[in-house]
Symmetry: C2
Subunit: 231 residues, 2 copies
């Protein structure tokens, strides 16, 4: 372990979490990466996360699988169909069926456990309140409440150690701004994957909310998405 | 589903969570039980939790396994030895090595996901701030902070549904009081297991913190513990 401050980054292998890694490294943190997989995107996510961790020379990378299918209730963890559209403007208002109940709370809880074992005093999570899809657990007030809770939950809460800070560097950026930030830090987005419903060969569908928001982000930034799409 | 209010109860198959079930049922809730297992007590915990769920006729019982061993840092999830003593008075002060980083936060996060899919507006957890072992995530201020966070994390936070309440009916009771409450509600503690380090045949060790606190509780209540012990 180096003298740099240590942070845990939640790394899904997607565009947002990969940009988050680049930002945290640019801010001078040593990173421990945590990939929590669930549901049908398991193998593709792990492959992408491993590529990203290797790219950034993050050697402390833990992959853990959880089973949210037992609960059901989301298109990402059960047999509900992932909605498809032709344009980002067609994405509905309100909470979509791709919402996974308490997902970020579960992810952050694992990150908190990981941070405590690594004596890390920061967690980076690539949530986004602007260009995201209306998930309640992406809002700044939610993140602030989690941080308060986290500091009561752990040893630091009773031993007077440094407080844990949850960093959300993407929370108020558009997808285009996130992409531009990442490119400025040398991110190669060809190694990332965002699709909710990829083909067996890993190609993105191009029509789920995640694909449409990603494609719109590249278009708004005046760029082509280097990811591989079906057809 | 009945007209009764629905609650999720975290059920480890131990003395506390089993008493919690009895209290929640006595308060008129329909229960969905969640058993989250990790580490070496896996099979014994599942067996005990299944017995308890069957005893209370809880048919909606989800068992899910998580892997906290990847993080290390606790006697319950790694190769650190579980401390043994002869008397409860010998249990040390401070946070013990059996503390599992962020354990209750992870458990409550899964319970939150489960509650959301079941439209439950209550979670019961058998934490105890008195006769427990100095874990930071058993304190009332921690539970209150989790509840605040939970109500921002989920659909209820943006759709104005009933707020989620986290019930901790054991939090200020001694182990003896917990046992007396459970017995008054018809709990058979022979079906519960508390040991951190049971023998292969399931018998409790009698000397870990959990066994000593349990045995002291029965002694203080003027009763014999019906659990099976080694030797």
């Amino acid at each position: 372990m180096s003298d740099k401050p240590r942070a845990v980054v939640l790394l899904s292998g997607g565009l947002d979490s990969t940009t988050c890694c680049a930002i945290a490294l640019d801010q001078g943190y040593s990173l421990s990466a945590l990939t929590v997989t669930y549901g049908q995107r398991h193998n593709m996510e792990i492959d992408a996360a491993r590529k990203v961790a290797a790219h950034f020379a993050i050697t402390d990378h833990v992959v853990t699988e959880i089973d949210l299918r037992a609960f059901g209730g989301s298109a990402l963890t059960s047999d509900i169909a992932v909605p498809k559209h032709d344009n980002a403007a067609d994405i509905g208002d309100g909470i979509p069926v791709t919402y996974v109940p308490a997902r970020n709370t579960i992810f952050l809880s694992f990150a908190l456990a990981f941070a405590e074992t690594r004596n890390a005093d920061a967690i980076f999570i690539g949530v986004n309140a602007l260009d995201y899809s209306g998930y309640p657990d992406c809002r700044p007030e939610y993140i602030a409440a989690f941080q308060t809770m986290a500091n009561l939950a752990t040893k630091s809460g009773v031993e007077g150690a440094d407080a844990l800070i949850i960093h959300t560097p993407l929370i108020d950026r558009t997808k285009a701004q996130i992409i531009q930030t990442g490119l400025g830090l040398g991110v190669d987005y060809a190694m990332t994957t965002s699709c909710y419903d990829p083909a067996d060969n890993g190609a993105a569908c191009g029509h789920c909310d995640a694909c449409l928001l990603r494609l719109k982000g590249f278009k708004d930034a005046g760029l082509n998405d280097p990811a591989r799409y079906v057809g």
